[in-house]
């Protein structure tokens, strides 16, 4: 399972880079809705990265719940 999570992480990191590049492209061409949507996509990718890191045991749980 850890391998699957690792593959997912790599994919999401790649996607995030793509989204970040899209945000810059949207800003450069004044396509604000495009850029804004990619900010959202980037945040969603980050949220899934955080979830996978947690499932892999690399972050959390919170101190109170250890």
């Amino acid at each position: 399972m850890r391998n699957a999570y690792s593959v997912g992480l790599v994919l999401l990191i790649g996607l995030s880079l793509l989204f970040a590049a899209g945000i810059v492209a949207g800003e450069a061409t004044d396509r604000w809705f495009f850029g804004g949507a990619l900010v959202g996509a980037l945040l969603i990718a980050y949220s899934i990265i955080v979830l996978l890191l947690r499932k892999m045991g690399l972050i959390g749980p919170r101190k109170a719940e250890r």
């Binding site: 004044d30 604000w32 809705f33 495009f34 850029g35 804004g36 949507a37 990619l38 900010v39 959202g40 996509a41 980037l42 945040l43 969603i44 990718a45 980050y46 949220s47 899934i48 955080v50 979830l51 947690r54 499932k55 959390g60 749980p61 919170r62 719940e65």
Partner: protein, 395 residues
């Protein structure tokens, strides 16, 4: 005294027991996907708070550009959407965060309803929560009016029809529009009815939290990122746009519907203004009355609830504050100890726990929190609990 609660006899009781079991099963299911500290169902209140925060920030931005006049409202919103860099995105964020807020509030309401977290001393957050919901509905509706497009015009006409149904409704309608007919003053009033109740939400939130010691007011980072991301994504992919500009001669009969805020106006197709007013009134009264109606267990069936206000056994209290931190009702305060305790552990204490009787709900949480046997419920002693547990285990 009976340890187990009797099976509910009424249809309502059986229904609520069914939904309680369903809610708990859903919890278990979600906990298989997410770690339990990431379970969004545990943070519905925090999610509503997150969306409210997004609404306030985006609303402040929109306010800088908005012009509250018949001639300027539509144009200012169009300028913001089309000409201001990322203005359309911020408008979309404001619109979708409002939907997110209502969804989170409704989930929060249903979850607390289905899990009985509105009974007894919890009626306080329930009532304040109902005010939050009603205020949220009003704010959302007035937000659609502020754009002053054909939908806003139709909504205003329908709302005035609903106001006129009420006793004394005609003067109310005149106060709402600011005279005999719609004018610049109408939009100023609507703007006030949008921002005034929005500011009041934070006062209501203070009331909502006032009896809770550890409210979960913010979701975990994973959900903050996800929810803000979804709002941005929707704002970019399905932009919030205006309809046609409102015109005095136009009488629009159809408009795009937001199911979370505008459903009463959709129902007017069948119920008419009087029917919708009666329905909204009934729903509001029923919502506020839920803590006082349809209790599944009567007090005498829940004898543990009548165990008496918790009492501090002065000689045993060490002033460790465990009960103070565990009491969810703020019913225990720590005061400077007037004298040392009697037990060895309590000999050097500096603080003493005191129970605020008006706040104690006799739940017994403090008894479990105290390792020094310094608290007791007078009619439900710890040794009796142990005896009953042992009897239950043996049986």
């Amino acid at each position: 005294m009976s340890v187990t609660s009797p099976e509910p006899r009424t249809g309502y009781g059986r229904l609520m027991t069914g939904v309680l079991r369903g809610t708990l099963k859903l919890d278990v299911l979600v906990n298989r996907i997410y770690p339990s500290d990431f379970n969004p169902l545990y943070y519905t209140g925090g999610l509503a708070n997150l969306f409210l925060f997004v609404l306030v920030l985006s609303g402040i931005f929109l306010f800088f550009y908005y012009e509250a006049s018949l001639g300027g409202a539509f144009a200012s919103v169009q300028y913001l959407t089309e000409r201001v860099p990322y203005g359309g995105i911020v408008r979309g964020i404001h619109r979708y965060a409002a939907d997110g807020f209502i969804i989170a509030v409704l989930l929060h309401l249903l979850r607390n309803w289905f899990t009985d977290r509105y009974l007894f001393s919890r009626d306080n957050p329930w009532i304040s929560g109902m005010f939050l919901l009603v205020f949220g509905g009003v704010i959302g509706f007035t937000g659609y009016q502020l754009v002053w497009d054909d939908r806003a015009q139709a909504l205003t006409a329908m709302f005035l029809a609903m106001l006129r149904v009420l006793p004394g409704g005609e003067p109310l309608a005149r106060v709402f529009v600011g005279g005999a007919g719609i004018s610049d003053g109408t939009l100023v009033r609507i703007l006030f009815l949008h921002i005034g109740p929005a500011s009041a939400l934070y006062v209501l939130l203070w009331w909502h939290y006032t009896r809770l010691r550890h409210p979960k007011i913010w979701p975990p980072a994973v959900w903050v990122l996800f929810c803000v991301g979804v709002v941005f994504l929707l704002a970019g992919v399905i932009p919030a746009l205006s309809g046609r500009p409102a015109a005095p001669a136009a009488q629009p009969t159809a408009f795009p519907l937001d199911v979370f805020f505008l459903w009463p106006f959709w129902l007017m197709n069948w119920l008419g203004a009087p029917g919708v007013v009666v329905l909204l009134g009934l729903l509001t009264v029923a919502g506020f009355a839920i803590p006082y109606l349809g209790r599944r267990e009567r007090p005498q069936e829940m004898d543990v609830r009548h165990a008496g206000v918790a009492q501090v056994i002065d000689g045993n209290c060490t002033g460790c504050e465990l009960c103070y931190f565990d009491c969810p009702y703020n019913a225990i305060v720590m005061v400077p100890s007037p004298a040392p305790g009697l037990s060895r552990a309590a000999a050097n204490r500096t603080l003493l726990a005191v129970v605020v009787e008006s706040r104690c709900v006799e739940c017994g949480i403090c008894i479990g929190a105290c390792p020094f046997e310094a608290l007791e419920l007078p009619k439900f002693l710890e040794r009796d609990v142990k005896t009953r547990v042992l009897e239950a285990v043996r049986a």
